[in-house]
């Protein structure tokens, strides 16, 4: 790829990356502990769940949709997974169940949006409540804790000295990048978000691909649930609250437009890391969690403002 092409494709992400690096530099200066290998791995590990969920969110937002239900799906998949684990289902099967619950919940969103013609905001808002309720009902409101070592290794183990969640995250991003840039699903995802009517008139099966995208978002929420459950050695029916907002923030900071049709998966990764690094740094600096919220919110707003200003330069 020639550099000019690269810049026109990834110019926006390049900007975000510089933002991230500047942020890291500042934190390094403020607190030397920040730039140590254990801490950086720690950041990566803590970012991994949001980063993975944000992949699904990016697909959804590229289609000009939104998925508010990811956090609740994390909780619901988590408790179902936990219960089948405790019932003695082999780990691989239990994982499949966890992913399956996520996938199915996502597909229900997809069907409501395509065949039910509901706006994504409404159907996933409903699902947010339904899945949360289902998680509470299923677990009778109590956490389900205590799993086998082999399951917990998924989150606590390391491969080549790198925490497993980080490896899973990297694999998910590599796959997602491939899907978005090299496959039919990816191309149609952009096309649907850019102009649904034109996509349909060009022969794209809009309903099918939209449903798939919401299914994917649910599936990745299921994956997030697995890592979360393994890390905490417990599944909480109240887990995942506000995850949707973190995922949306990572996506938007990463340059994906809420209008649809535009976005890059690397941007989302950088966006997720900006959020993760910021949290970590503020913690290291001993900033109170109240202030943290405010700072993170401001960063989201600033990122989008800068983005809009840069876009306007084009005229």
């Amino acid at each position: 790829m020639v550099p000019k092409d690269f810049l026109s494709h990834y110019g926006r992400q390049f900007g975000t990356l510089i933002g991230l690096l500047v942020l890291m530099l500042v934190l390094w200066i403020l607190t030397p502990h920040f730039f140590t290998v254990p801490n950086l791995l720690n950041v990566a590990q803590q970012t991994s769940i949001n980063a993975i969920i944000a992949v699904g969110m990016t697909f959804v937002i590229i289609t000009a949709g939104i998925d508010l239900s990811v956090g609740s799906i994390v909780a619901f998949s988590g408790v179902v997974l936990a219960s089948v684990l405790q019932a003695g289902l082999p780990v691989p099967l239990a994982i499949a169940v966890g992913l399956g619950v996520g996938l199915l919940s996502g597909l229900v969103n997809g069907l409501l949006i395509t065949y039910g013609r509901l706006p994504p905001f409404i159907s996933t808002l409903g699902m947010m409540s339904v899945a949360r309720g289902a998680a509470l009902l299923y677990s009778q409101g109590r956490p389900i804790s205590g799993f086998s070592e082999s399951f917990r290794l998924l989150a606590t183990g390391e491969t080549f000295h790198i925490p497993n969640p980080v490896i899973i995250m990297v694999l998910v991003y590599a796959a997602a990048h491939f899907v978005l840039t090299r496959t039919k699903l990816g191309r149609y995802t952009y096309a649907i978000g850019g102009n649904e009517e034109a996509a349909s008139l060009s022969g794209v099966n809009v309903r099918l691909y939209k449903a798939m995208v919401y299914g994917l978002s649910g599936l990745l929420s299921g994956l997030g649930a697995i890592i979360l459950t393994a890390r905490l050695n417990s599944a909480q029916p109240i887990a995942g609250v506000m995850y949707e907002l973190d995922a949306i923030a990572a996506t938007v900071i990463g340059g994906t437009s809420l209008m649809g049709g535009e976005g890059r998966i690397v941007g989302t990764l950088i966006g997720a890391f900006i959020m993760g690094v910021l949290r970590n740094g503020l913690n290291l600096l001993g900033v109170s969690s109240f202030v943290q919220q405010t700072v993170i919110g401001s960063v989201i707003i600033m990122a989008v403002l800068i983005d809009m200003a840069l876009k306007k330069q084009r005229t």
């Binding site: 039919k184 699903l185 850019g194 102009n195 996509a199 349909s200 008139l201 022969g203 049709g261 535009e262």
Partner: protein, 500 residues
């Protein structure tokens, strides 16, 4: 006209990343003249007027309005300076009524700070009536036809009381009758001292309405001339820098087997018992007024709209087409009349748009062969001479005519052999039109069948083998193109003659 010019643009330069759109362009407007801007697709016409309307900022140069230098800061500022514009692409809010669109952003409020709806609707209705169009100010823009939407745009610009009114291809979506109405309005405006910049690719009409013409070529100025001194041939030569031998280079191909047969096609309230056939190697021209059901027929054939009755046979076999996807699988292609909302995905690149209907052709197990796709896109871009800095340029940054070529190339790339073209040459310059006609010749020679819907009767007469005319949802006549006349077509289109 010895007083100061109404507006002067001096040494205007405008660059975009990778593109020099305008280079040292000068333009002088006299008060009350209709000044034509002429040039090939991508020559820089729209860019030049967008600088006046505040949509773009010039890179270099000076603008002098009524003897004073001005910096046009943005669209609002331009409005305040008395510059109104009708863009090539519509800028209407489809969910709002005509009246609300006309006064969008300038809603007058009453004492309570509420929008004075009554006033808005009344003044809008007055402007629309003055334009001589039958549009109810209350009707939602999305329910209006393209031509009516265009008229709403005109009304919007007029309501501003502009001293300079810019029209970027206002007639490309209009039929002859509506063009007449528009011209009557322009003449009235002229009398009131309004200066007009008028962009169009329809050369015939320029002589009727224009005073002077400025020609652009590749972002550079060729010159400004009184239109009375020019002929069409002169203008074409100035624009494209070569002579065009003929406007309609029709070649008759061998009529082959039947590709498409439609029997008794009906859709309640829109299409009434349509029968037609299309054979390999032929162009079936479909004429008719706006709202006669031409586009609706195309949409029904392509599976966009449901049909209530009727049979469709493709290559002799009866088929049920319930979605565009079905239609495409059967070898149909549909070039829609509205490129912005139906033809293109503005956020995607030239390549991605060109190849969208063919994605399946380039993929196996869902994985795309990007090289093959690149090649195909490259070929299409060359074939239609689409002016773009590269395959990965977003289509939103192409000029209108080049966007239209992208829409057309989608179906060439797909290798569809039953093509439905709805206003295929809308917004395309004279030179490129001839190229598209030649392309149609080549396609028919290769055995493609083309249904061409067009409001330009010369195009229908010049490029069709057979002509069908629609009137109020019915096909009222069908006859060979050779020997037919505009009068004959209009007779059927208006429902005066009765044939079939």
């Amino acid at each position: 006209m010895n007083n100061v010019p109404m507006l002067e643009m001096q040494h205007i330069r405008k660059t975009f990343p990778g593109v020099v759109a305008l280079d040292d362009v000068n333009l002088t407007l006299r008060k009350g003249e209709v000044h034509i801007l002429l040039g090939e697709n991508g020559a820089g016409k729209s860019t030049l007027v967008k600088i006046l309307s505040g949509a773009y900022q010039k890179t270099e140069g000076k603008i002098i309005l009524n003897g004073q230098e001005v910096e046009i800061r943005g669209p609002r500022h331009a409005q305040e300076l008395g510059i109104g514009i009708i863009y090539q692409e519509f800028n209407l809010v489809f969910q709002l009524s005509a009246a609300e669109n006309i006064f969008l952003g300038r809603e007058r409020t009453n004492k309570l700070g509420l929008i004075d709806r009554k006033q808005i609707f009344e003044s809008s209705q007055k402007i629309l009536d003055n334009l001589g169009v039958k549009i109810d100010a209350f009707s939602l823009v999305k329910d209006l036809g393209v031509a009516q939407q265009q008229m709403v745009e005109v009304a919007k610009a007029l309501s501003l009381d502009a001293k300079l009114l810019i029209m970027d291809e206002p007639t490309s979506a209009l039929t002859d009758l509506e063009i007449k109405e528009l011209f009557a309005t322009i003449r009235r405006l002229k009398k009131r001292g309004v200066t007009i910049i008028y962009i169009s690719h329809r050369l015939e009409e320029l002589f009727e309405i224009g005073d002077r013409v400025s020609v652009l070529r590749d972002g550079k100025q060729v010159g400004t001339y009184p239109i009375a001194d020019m002929t069409q041939t002169d203008l074409i030569r100035l624009m494209v820098d070569r002579d065009l031998k003929t406007q309609f280079p029709k070649q008759y191909a061998k009529r082959g087997e039947e590709l498409l047969r439609v029997e008794g096609l009906s859709r309640k309230g829109v299409l009434d018992n349509i029968n037609l056939q299309l054979h390999r190697g032929e162009v079936l021209g479909i004429a008719g007024l706006l709202g006669s059901g031409r586009t609706e027929l195309a949409r029904a054939l392509f599976g966009v709209d449901k049909i209530d009755a009727g049979k469709i046979f493709i290559r002799g076999k009866r088929q049920k087409i319930t979605s565009p996807r079905d239609a495409i699988m059967l070898g149909l292609g549909f070039l829609t009349e509205d490129r912005k909302s139906q033809g293109l995905i503005m956020t995607l690149s030239v390549k991605e748009n060109v190849c969208l209907p063919s994605v399946e052709r380039f993929s196996r197990w869902g994985i795309m062969d990007l090289k093959a796709e690149d090649q195909a896109a490259h070929q299409s871009v060359q074939e239609l001479r689409i002016k773009t800095p590269g395959l990965s340029q977003k289509v939103v940054y192409l000029s209108g005519g080049n966007q239209q070529k992208v829409v057309m190339s989608k179906w060439l790339c797909r290798q569809a052999d039953i093509l439905i073209f709805d206003e295929p040459t809308r917004g395309i310059d004279v030179g490129a039109k001839v190229e598209i006609y030649k392309l149609m010749n080549r396609l028919t020679a290769e055995g493609t069948g083309i249904i061409m819907i067009s409001s330009e009767l010369p195009e229908i007469l010049g490029m069709s083998d057979r002509i069908a005319v629609m009137h109020q949802g019915q096909l009222t006549a069908e006859f060979p193109a050779q020997g037919a006349t505009q009068e004959k077509i209009m007779g059927y289109a208006l429902g005066v003659s009765n044939g079939a």
